[in-house]
């Protein structure tokens, strides 16, 4: 245990900071705003390519995938520098953090070149097709069916909550390929282009407003998908699911830390909740550092998710309540305008509060994470 900074990390941090100072898009360049989690405005596309070319997009990856083989500590410093400046990592967060990352883990060399690199370079965007009307927390109960017909899969079924699907180029889709196998087996993963015949996206609005179109229902009717779009092994999609969610969950605590940090800046208070908020953030970081160092039970990721998402909900509620009747105003700005991040981070107190609700639902509900802690860490019977 030691506090001290690592010279290698500080050198990395200083170089990245200098890079940001030099290349960050100006507010004038960044007037076009994003409309969904798969819509990358043109200025942001160029910015993501700049990051990719400089090896600052996913610093832990090798240069051909937008990185520089950075260490875990350097990756954390990268995230801290972005967060300090309130820079949103990518306007297609799932494309970068889950789909591209999964392709880099499970894809063939050809798939990496054909799909991962365009996603990393923001030339294409991607959505994640996991949940179905009948398969949420019980993901393995998914029923969207894919049948091999020669060199194509034929896909029939429905996904839902598929964020950004209508603006995306491809959907990483979890399908059942063997209906007779036990439910965790017999699942496969297909990368399905959204312009495929028979694929229909129907976006629907969130409770924050009728124009907030990010969620989608996605319907598949006899959609033909080339066999080469199979990611990972046939019938072994559960491994990819664990890997994908693993990527999602590993990154999640950092994004909660960032949102908690936003609230510390945006809602200073002399209420005791403000002290708890700072303790939550500090504890989240420390637990995160501990987790990144390895050697901890992987189930501890559930602890980070739970702490981060629930702390954020609590703090957002207090920030709303603290502003009393003034918090009725909507739309409103609750933080300085920031062209480098999503507008929802600076929106009205109510919307910020409302948007913290999915944190305890997506990426595993709090109930599921509590079960994981009780069963896999405390050893309680299933």
């Amino acid at each position: 245990m030691r506090l001290g900074t690592n010279p290698e990390v500080e050198k990395f941090r200083a170089e990245f900071a200098a890079f940001l100072d030099e290349h960050l898009p100006t507010a004038e360049e960044a007037t076009e705003r994003t409309r969904s989690s798969s819509h990358i405005p043109e200025w942001s596309r160029r910015w993501q390519q700049t990051l990719f070319d400089a090896g600052y997009l996913l610093p832990g990856q090798p240069p051909e995938y937008g990185g520089r083989n950075a260490t875990l500590e350097q990756i954390l410093a990268h995230q801290e520098e972005l967060s300090r400046r309130r820079i949103y990592h990518s306007f297609n967060p799932q494309g970068l953090g889950i789909i591209a990352a999964s392709l880099l883990t499970f894809g063939t060399e050809e798939q990496k070149a054909r799909w991962a690199i365009p996603l990393l370079r923001a030339e294409k965007t991607a959505a994640l097709g996991m949940s179905e009307p009948g398969a949420g927390s019980d993901l393995a109960g998914l029923r969207t069916r894919a049948v091999l017909d020669g060199d194509h899969f034929v896909v029939n079924g429905q996904k839902v909550w598929t964020s950004g699907a209508h603006d995306s180029d491809v959907i990483l889709t979890f399908v059942r390929t063997d209906p007779d196998a036990p439910k965790h087996r017999g699942i496969s993963v297909l990368l399905i282009p959204t312009d495929s015949e028979g694929l229909v996206c129907r976006p629907f609005a969130s409770m924050t407003g009728p124009d907030d179109l990010d969620f989608n229902e996605v319907f598949f009717t006899d959609v033909r998908v080339p066999r080469e779009n199979l990611i990972g092994e046939l019938d072994n999609g559960w491994a990819v699911a664990n890997g994908s969610l693993g990527h999602e969950r590993t990154l999640l605590w950092l994004s909660y830390a960032e949102r908690l940090e936003d609230l510390i800046r945006d809602a200073p208070s002399d209420g005791e909740w403000y002290a708890s908020l700072q303790m939550d953030l500090q504890a989240l970081r420390l637990l995160g550092y501990e987790q990144l160092s390895g050697g901890r039970n992987p189930a501890e990721i559930s602890l980070l998710k739970l702490l981060g998402s629930e702390a954020l909900q609590r703090a957002n509620w207090h920030a709303l309540e603290q502003h009393q009747q003034d918090a009725l105003i909507h739309p409103a700005r609750t933080a300085p305008p920031n062209h480098m991040a999503h507008d929802v981070f600076t929106t009205s107190w109510f919307e910020r509060y409302a948007r913290s609700a999915p944190g305890t639902i997506a990426g595993g509900t709090s109930e599921i994470h509590r079960n994981i802690i009780a069963e896999r860490i405390l050893g309680l019977p299933r």
Binding site: M1, L3, G4, A275, M279, A283, A374, L378
Partner: protein
């Protein structure tokens, strides 16, 4: 920053655990000589936190906590025998004051160390029978006590709470695994699991903040005061959750004298109340933040 134990720290924890598992039947005096012979009092802050965490786990009856975290930071040395410190400006609720061999007093003229037997101190009846807490009833003439709580003392109580809370959780987990109702262990019910998970979450949050505080003290980092306020507040918040859920999950058995649960619950509650509870330290943290604006 590296926030995991190194090899030596892991070995120390292992050896402390093994020692304490074997010393259950020993008297207070025998425990004390075991600890001192093993050199635990000389441990630097992070290692000291490791020891105190385990001593909290057994609700240690010796004056170890007071000697290491109340006397030592004031006097700048270890006492001959046991020790404690007075830094509240009034000499009230002083840990082990009636039995310490040496007492360090924080006065307007600096720290004054006096032999314990020369001080008049009255042990108080408290709900934690294994804890020694006393009021000073008379001071040497001209002694002008002033307040100034050392960060190490806050860390010591925080990590003690963490240890006691870990023990409560272990007892509760063992109970809900073996206690059957409706034909199954009650630990298989989700309502039970979720309460246990919340206890674990509260403990982990308090644990990292307590060790972070120890680390800032070890490196004499300027963040140590803030870290100490957070550690004490989080430990207090932790014991509240652990007490509430722990007693609930243990059912009626947890409310009996013969069940050991109360020993650790009481240590955790007492540690929260000493030197200011969670509420006091959340407010202190806010005052500090406001001053920094």
């Amino acid at each position: 920053m590296e926030f995991e134990f190194d090899e030596d720290q892991l070995l120390l924890r292992q050896s402390v655990r093994e020692t304490l598992a074997k010393t259950r039947a020993l008297s207070e005096a025998e425990l004390w000589s075991t600890y001192t012979e093993l050199g635990w009092l000389e441990a630097p802050p992070v290692e000291l936190a490791i020891v105190l965490d385990e001593l909290g786990y057994i609700a240690d009856p010796t004056p170890f906590l007071a000697t290491a975290t109340w006397f030592a930071p004031l006097a700048g040395r270890l006492p001959e025998g046991s020790g404690t410190g007075v830094f509240d400006g009034g000499g009230r609720f002083v840990l082990d004051a009636e039995r310490a061999d040496e007492v360090a007093l924080l006065t307007s003229g600096g720290v004054v160390v006096v032999p314990g037997p020369e001080l008049a101190a009255q042990r108080l009846d408290t709900f934690d029978h294994r804890l020694h807490v006393a009021h000073l009833t008379d001071l040497p003439t001209g002694t002008d006590l002033v307040p100034g709580v050392p960060e190490l003392a806050l860390m010591g109580l925080a990590v003690t709470t963490v240890g006691a809370c870990r023990r409560v959780l272990d007892l509760v987990v063992a109970h809900v695994k073996q206690r059957k109702q409706f034909g199954v262990p009650i630990g298989s019910f989700q309502a039970v699991k979720h309460k246990a998970a919340d206890m674990y979450l509260a403990i982990e949050r308090a644990r990292v903040l307590a060790y972070y505080c120890a680390l800032t003290i070890a490196e004499d980092d300027p963040r140590q005061h803030r870290a100490a306020l957070m550690a004490k507040a989080a430990a207090g918040e932790c014991q509240e959750v652990v007490y509430r859920n722990g007693t609930q999950l243990f059912g009626a058995m947890g409310f009996t004298w013969e069940n050991d649960l109360h020993i650790y619950l009481k240590r955790a509650v007492a540690a929260n109340l000493l030197l200011g509870s969670a509420t006091v330290h959340r407010k202190a943290l806010l005052t500090m933040e406001v001053a920094a604006l």
